[in-house]
Each structure stands twice: as C-alpha cells, then as structure tokens.
Symmetry: C2
Subunit: 330 residues, 2 copies
C-alpha cells in the first residue's frame, strides 16, 4: 500500500433536472435511465479517510456522530469495494461533515459518496482518471457519480458497469443558473431513496415514464445549450411531477411531500404570472428547489422565506466537481 | 306539453371509488372508463323546474344567486336537450339549492344535474325509466349518471350513448360505509372538472391508467360484495393517487391539492397503524374523503377536525337515488 494513507476531499451535492429513479441492477447501481443534473456549490460534504493497520474495524463519524447502522454498512461496503481495488485489508477511519441537513432529499449521499470515493482512493494510493472515478462513486450511491464532476452533468445509463458513467456536458461557467432551496423539513425521511428505487417498478406508470425520458433528456440538453430557461423550466417541473407520480402510484405508495411542499409548489406558477421566473423541482424528499437566474434570486429567496412552513432558504450556484483538499477533519 | 309543468327533485352527491377522468366524446359525455361510486345522503341538491310559455329565456338561480355564465350555459344546454325530447320550446325557471359548497370537488355537478334531469323531465311530462334517466343525466354531467341511483353504483363506459348508463350494483343497505369529508378549501377550483377531462390524454401515463382500470374495478366490486374494507381501502387510495398523478403529469399540470390536503393524506396511514381503519380518496379537488365503518366514524371525525387547515368535517352515509319531492323552491 502506497502513502499517503490519509486524504480529504470535498464534493458538492447536485440537483437533478432529469431524475434517477429505479435501478436495473441494485448492487452495481446501474440505473434504468440516464439522468442530468447541476452540481451545486453551497451544499458540500468534506470527508477525511485514513487507512491504518492498527484499526480493528472501520470507524465512521458523520457530522460528529457515530454513523447509524444503515449508514455505517453502506460506507463500509463501499470501502470494501475500494480496498479490493487497492488489494489491502486495512480498516479505515472516516470523518465526514456536511454543511446541510442529511436525509431530507438534499442528496447528501451524492456529495457524501463522491467525497468518500475521492478521498479514499487517494488515501489508498490509487491513481484513477475521472471517468472511472464517476463509476466507482456510482457504486456507493448512484447520484454520487454526477457529483464527481462540476457544472452540468449527464450520467449515462449505459449497458453495464463499464459504460454507466457521468460526463460533464457543460462547465459551470456556461450558464449561471441558481438553485434556491426551500427547506420545509429537516426530519429524516421514512423511506430512503435506496428503498424507493426498488419500488419504482411497482408503479403501473413506470414503463411509460422510462419511454418518455430520452426525448425529454435531449430537449433539456438543447435548452441548457441555448441558456433557455423558459423552455428548460417546464421540462424540469414536468419531470419532477413525473417522478413523484411514480412514487405515489408505487405499491405501497411513497408520499414524500409535506403540506409546506405544496404551499411552495402552488406559489411558483403564480409568481411566474407576475414575471418572477422560477421553476420548481424536487428530489426524493419534501424540500423544493427553485431554479432561476441571478437577477431574480433575491426576490424568490425573500418570497420563499415568507411562506408558511418554509424553515430555511439556501441559495446554491453551479459548483465544481469533487476534489482533494489539504485540510483534514481529524 | 303535458301537465304538471312544475316539478322538484332531490339528489345526493356521490364519492367515486374508481374515478371518471377523461372522455372519449365530450358532447355526449362518453367516458374512457367505467367508474364506481357510492351515492351520499348528506350532500344534497334540491332543484325546482317550471316550464312556461311566458318566459323570454331560461332563468337559473343557484343557492339564491343568478348562475354564473358558465353554469347558466351548461344548464340551458341540458334544458335544450330535454326540451328536444319533449318537443317543446318553452323556457324554464330553475331554482337549485345545495347544502354544501360548490366547485370544491364535492361533486355538486353530479347531484345538480341528477336533480335537474329528474325535475325537468317530470315537469316536461316525460315518463322515463331509470336506466334511460341515467343516460340523460350523463349528458349534463358525466358523474350525474351515478347520482340518479342510490347505494353502490357502476357507470358503464359502454360503446355509445345507448349502453353508457349507470346501474346499482348493491343497494345502500348492503353495507354501511361512511364517508367522512375533510373540507380544506371552499374556494372554487381554478380548473373545472370539465376542462380537466380534456387534459387527461396529455399525460404520458394515461393509456396505462386506462389499461389498469378494468382489473381494479373487478377487485373493488368483489371487495364491496364481501364487505371487505381492508381490501377495498388500499384499492381506493391507489386509485385516487393514480387519478391525481394523471392530473399532475398533464400538460399543463393540474395540481388540485392544498397544503392541508397533504396534512390529511399523511395522517390517515399513520392512524391505521394505531388501529383506526380509514382510507382516503379525493375527487377533482382538494378535499379529502375518508371511508370508514360506523364504529370508527366519531374518532376519525374528531381527529380530522383537529388537523390544521381542516375547515369543516361532514359525515355522509350511503344515500338513495334522485327522486321527485313535493316541496318546491319557488
């Protein structure tokens, strides 16, 4: 095993314009459809990893607390996979810090597994190029593949492990879209996205959703290329409602929305009638992301802050990809 | 034209277990799918109609007010159709009174057009048997076909005007299911059901919804026959979420829910975990109907009354079909 044995990395979350919902292979996290997202600068995870011959087991601390059994076993499974690449059996100490609440649909597992993958491979002395790094991160959490890269990112469904990777389609400088995030709940959700993915196929609408996605993906990419929010926005809203319709019609149904979620969803189209151009999307959780341009961000932020049930509003810009940082958490 | 020229009728609303959403013929109100409902006793419309050679035009008063232009033209169009059957051109005075708020998804058009059809045909001296009466009411408002009859009612999609009629599948005495209605909004909805029906086919999921319905309909009928709420309940909830998913994925999307709608939807499954067996459904509106058995009705009613945003709670029993009444409104 090469030095350094210790490394730290930072990664941003991402907001999906076209969603990842449903796997064709759960162990490899091979998705049923290609997806598209914007990496965010404001929602970050920093993770430090140190491999040592003296540890009796992996140690995982997230935001200052021992990881839950579920989180612990996901992290150690990912470490096992990375250890097998480095041909080592050293256990690791992992510390991770998020600047945003976990388990509420802010894609903490995306930034978390992106940062973990970058830090751990570095600490293991593995030299891995970006495309392969996105595939490794994908094994930890599907959407982490996208958080390896900055800006506008597509994760290809591919035909297998080799070609299911993420790629930057436009750099973050291409277009300054802002994501104004209305946090309506910071409680952990009852059903994780991982479990949710398994339910996708129980919706009678799921096959038709999959059929409709390739065309929507092309349209979104064209709209991003043209920096055309008026075209992109309705595509993004329709896509979010499509995914949540799949969730609601799964058996059992998944209802991630809270009352305040709906309060926000109902306002956004009304604001547009008054010239405030924002478009909503939601991940697998109750919080609402509003995509807009810089000149309207302050207005949208202050309107969101006034809505009943909105606890906090975050503003995120297009962010860069995961990278090694010099400061360690321990 | 025969006497009497004046008649009054009373009809109850109905709550659909399997929903009517989307027409194959808008002018005849021929639906894309058969539907199933329970006629309710507590939500009633009384309508008086008088035809007279001395009127220069139809007069329509609903709940003491002149009908809106949209309501007026729907009513006169239906009167024109009924006049053509009676071969008269006398205009009519119509008075109608509802004991519940209009336009909020409580199916006022069902009870309204059922009562109008029964009163007007009587006033026109037409002798019409029940099955045909359901077809006539259907022309005014699709779901009015079901409100002509009492108890558990199926409206057959049929192949044309002749065989798209409603029939009682079980009398109201068969099973005392109660409908506890949480009213979360009494504002009129922005998009009428009539306009919504036209949007149904713009959802990519609509063809699959139609495919799945015949099997669900059979299962529901079997569960009603066995008085098996544990089987019927989840079928009803899934069906409501299916229809609302179609609405949300229409272009433009239709979002009938209010924040308080979601507050109720999230509670019902929680209450079940504690042994309170109620199941939700929603029509094309924000109010939530909770189906339950008499022994749990009081508990559910009082819990609903305590939820934030619930303005009023109504309790409805299985009701009888539309019928002529002796008292007139004018």
């Amino acid at each position: 095993m090469q030095t350094p044995r210790k490394a730290s990395a930072r990664a941003g979350s991402n907001i999906a314009f076209l969603k990842y919902w449903g796997n064709r292979d759960d162990s490899l996290n091979l998705p049923n459809n290609s997806s598209l997202s914007l990496t965010l600068d404001a929602l970050q995870t920093v993770t430090s990893v140190e491999f040592s011959p003296n540890l009796p087991a992996d140690e995982v601390i997230i935001d200052g607390q021992e990881a839950s059994p579920a989180a612990y076993s996901r992290v150690t499974a990912h470490l096992d996979f990375l250890r097998s690449l480095a041909k080592t059996d050293f256990f690791a100490r992992v510390g991770s810090r998020n600047n945003f609440p976990l388990g509420v649909g802010l894609a903490a597992s995306a930034s978390g597994f992106a940062a973990l993958t970058v830090a751990a491979t570095k600490a293991l002395g593995l030299e891995i190029e970006k495309r392969r790094l996105t595939r490794l991160a994908r094994r930890g959490s599907g959407s982490a593949a996208r958080s390896i890269l900055g800006g506008y990112v597509e994760w290809l469904a591919g035909s297998g492990d080799e070609d299911s990777y993420a790629r930057e389609i436009f750099p973050k400088e291409h277009w300054e879209l802002l994501d104004i995030i209305a946090i309506v709940s910071t409680s952990a959700k009852e059903i994780s996205s991982q479990d949710g993915h398994r339910l996708a196929a129980t919706s009678p609408f799921y096959p038709m959703r999959l059929q409709s996605l390739p065309q929507n993906l092309s349209k979104m990419k064209e709209a991003i290329e043209r920096q055309d929010l008026e075209t992109l926005g309705p595509l993004i809203e329709n896509e979010a409602l499509s995914m949540h319709s799949i969730m609601m019609t799964s058996k059992p149904p998944l209802l991630y929305w809270q009352p305040a979620t709906l309060a926000v969803l109902r306002e956004i189209p009304e604001w547009r009638k008054g010239g405030i151009e924002g478009y909503f999307t939601l991940d697998a959780g109750p919080n609402v992301h509003v995509l807009t341009l810089p000149q309207q961000a302050n207005e949208i932020r202050s309107r969101l802050e006034k809505l009943p049930g909105v606890q906090q509003v975050l503003v995120a810009q297009p962010g860069e990809g995961a990278k090694i940082v010099a400061e360690h958490l321990f």
